[in-house]
Amino acid sequence: MARLVLNDLKVSYDGKVNILEDYNLEIEDGKLVSILGPSGCGKTTTLKAVAGFLQSTGGEILIGDEDYSKVPVNKRNFGIVFQSYALFPNMTVFENVSYGLKLRKIPKDEIEKKVLDILETVELIALKDRKPENLSGGQRQRVALARALVISPKLLLLDEPLSNLDAKLRIEMRSQIKRMQQKFNITTILITHDQEECFSISDKVAIMNDGKIEQYDTPENIYSNPKSIFVADFVGFKNLLDVTRISPGVYRLSNGKNIEAEDVENAKKIAIRPQNIAVGQSSDSFIEGTIKVRTYLGEDYQYEVDTDLGEIVVSTSKAIALNTGDIIKLNFPKDGICVLAS
Amino acid sequence: MKKSKVLTIFVCLVFFYLLFPLFITVVASFNSKDILTYPIDGFSLKWYKSAFSSSYISGFAISFQVGVVATIISLCFGVPVAYGLAKYKSKFTRAIKNVFFSPVLIPGIVLSYSLFLGWVFIAKEFDTRLPKLLVLMLAHIIVLFPYTIRVIGGAFEKFDFTIEDAAESLGATKKDFILHILLPSITPAIISASVLSFITSFNDIPISIFLYGRGSTPLPIIMMQDVEKYGDPSVAAVSVVLLFMTIGITYLIEKTLGLNNYGR
């Protein structure tokens, strides 16, 4: 196994308009990378192109030194877990998992050993003679994972693998996926629109918008340091405010007040998370507002506050409960602000 | 997804097989000689003149009358049954459903003969010769009945019967509910069922074999007899007229209902 490189990949459905253009992505050997984005951003297209269901019209798909962009799907030897799991309804769990090995003309006893081995790992050995229709969602998911991994693929592709599961199962399954991925030490691409799902298990995350990668970084960096307005909005910076830079490190808000933050030339907006806004104290740059809506989120309260900058979302810990109609003062601490140029 | 070339060529051949014969019929109907052949010896429209001759026209009239009456009556019987089968799901309705679908199991020609025996019985015992046209209509009603239930039943299966309670709670009587809510909501299904039934009746031959009489011979039977006897191109000309009628109806269905509601 070696690292995966997508080099200037081009994909087009009709030969005219490119859905993906000059698409570049590098994944280190044995790492799990997520491609995250809203629906229609091109993440599924990326997966289909890498898998080979869509013929790329230009560029390379390199694993090591070998270009896979012209190799037919059935010769690529990539393991794919589909969104609907796509288990064969006519086959038992065992038959599903052994299908890929049978096609490879592997001797029967070896197939049996490999399949039983992997079914053991995903804890499905007792259900090996069941048909998919008699399995729960999580069990189907594990069969799909086992079926994709048993062929010792060069690359594992996961297409929204958790979107059909309920919340509790999703958390269980994502650590199972991570465990398997590490056990097999396999380079993996995970496609998802769920931020929490991908941040929790990815080594790196590529955030896509409109056919392009907006930011490719570790989850921690993306979370705290988004590089574009789109990414900031997507990863939960609920407050995005227009600013103009008046001197290095000083920005003017639309209500005329100035605030300080890290210096970025051509800054257009600042972003700040609800929990990073300080509530209460007076300061030079505080903003006053009225609480319109209070929602209880378990760990904390969240308020929608009406200010002269528009609506701002703030959260406080349970200890400080404010009421609708209260007038409060908001402060934007320097280190909670993220300054964005594009 | 790309499709393999071999498959595409195969499917083209299949559609050629499905459609080329119809094309041959069209061409053969223009022959100047009085034989059915392809390619034709010369061009002539004379067979269309005989296509509109009295025997075909009266056959058309019979088939049309039978088709329309049988369609309407099988709807009158079928709609309530379809409603009942969808609303009440019990052992009883499942059993009774089999009774209603039983005509499907009986070969048309067998049904035709058994009804002919009934006609003979009434003629003998009650000294009444029922008009053949009436018997034809009764036979066609029986053939259409299961189709009607199936198509209308499809619409009722999707109908939410709590709506009936809702209407009642708002003060509607049973009659109001049927006229204002139930029937309007299954209108598309009634139209498909009518068209499907009429075409089925209009084309059906076996069910009429033992039941037609002088002056009440349906069109397809006249055509079949002509084909058996000599088969000049006038039958082909009638076929072409019917083909275009069918194209017209198909086009209307496609425009108004969409084909997906059809034939399933």
């Binding site: 059935n74 064969f88 | 070969p107 009764l138 074999i209």
Partner: protein, 276 residues
């Protein structure tokens, strides 16, 4: 049983009883009576009748061939249509269904032209050097098989499309991603998961061919007799009415038995639908 159910079901129940059950009983009674006494003589005569035996053999062999041919042609065609999208799919569906809406005479005429003496097929064969003299295939078993396959193919295709539409593209993709070719995927995944539609199609086509009257009458005539045409020929043409009733009952019973057998064996083999 409440009043509403009575109003809904009773009229139609009467309709079926009067127009189906009673006539069928009269038919059965007639087939079992000779000169006013109950007897199996008609059936005994029938089973000894050589024309009947021939017709029975023809009916079965034709039905088997037609089911086989429609399945062979229908499977790839239905697959192709179910994997087509948008307008083209509608057009293909329309072209498939259209022949079903025209009557069997219209559809059989062209086969007289194709299969008749010195017809299209005969000329094609002599052009290819297969035959020296013009031939006629009319009234042969082959003619009935070709014509019936043509007539009933749309039934098969429509039954198959119904299930194939429900096989998701992802399942096919999964098979291919695991290393299968398209052909392997068709046999390993598409066909096994189309079993429900295959069974419906087989039942429909088999019973339709078994009981078909018009096409065998036009293309088979008196030379290739099948059970349905025998009913008519023994009745209106030859006046052997005593046999008509027994053939009719036999044909009816055969249809019921065949449908039951296919469905039973299907649920034995498939088993899946039964378990739920």
């Amino acid at each position: 049983m409440n009043k509403e159910k009575l109003v809904i079901f009773l009229p139609s129940l009467c309709l079926i009883v009067v127009l189906v059950f009673i006539p069928l009983l009269m038919l059965a009674q007639k087939s079992l009576s000779v000169d006013g006494t109950i007897s199996f003589a008609n059936y005994l005569e029938l089973f000894g009748d050589s024309t009947f035996k021939k017709a029975l053999k023809n009916t079965f062999s034709i039905s088997f061939f037609v089911v086989f041919a429609t399945l062979l042609i229908g499977l790839p065609t239905a697959y192709f249509i179910s994997r087509t999208q948008g307008r083209l799919k509608n057009v293909l569906l329309l072209l498939t269904l259209f022949p079903l809406l025209t009557n069997a005479v219209v559809r059989s005429i062209s086969w007289m032209i194709i299969l008749g003496y010195d017809g299209i097929l005969s000329r094609l064969m002599s052009d290819l050097g297969l035959i020296d003299e013009p031939i006629s295939l009319m009234y042969s078993k082959l003619a009935v098989i070709i014509g019936s396959t043509y007539i009933f193919l749309p039934l098969m295709i429509v039954s198959l499309i119904g299930v194939m539409d429900n096989i998701s593209q992802e399942i096919e993709d999964a098979s291919i991603s695991l290393g299968a070719s398209r052909l392997q995927t068709f046999f390993n995944v598409i066909i096994p998961n189309s079993m429900a539609g295959i069974i419906v199609g087989v039942v429909l086509v088999f019973t339709a061919t078994l009981t078909a009257y018009t096409t065998p009458n036009i293309l088979g005539g008196t030379r290739t007799v099948v059970l349905a045409t025998l009913v008519q020929q023994y009745g209106t043409t030859l006046g052997r009415w005593e046999l008509v009733s027994s053939i009719s009952i036999f044909l009816f019973a055969l249809t019921v038995v065949v449908i039951t057998l296919i469905n039973k064996s299907a649920s034995l083999v498939g088993g899946r639908n039964e378990e739920k």
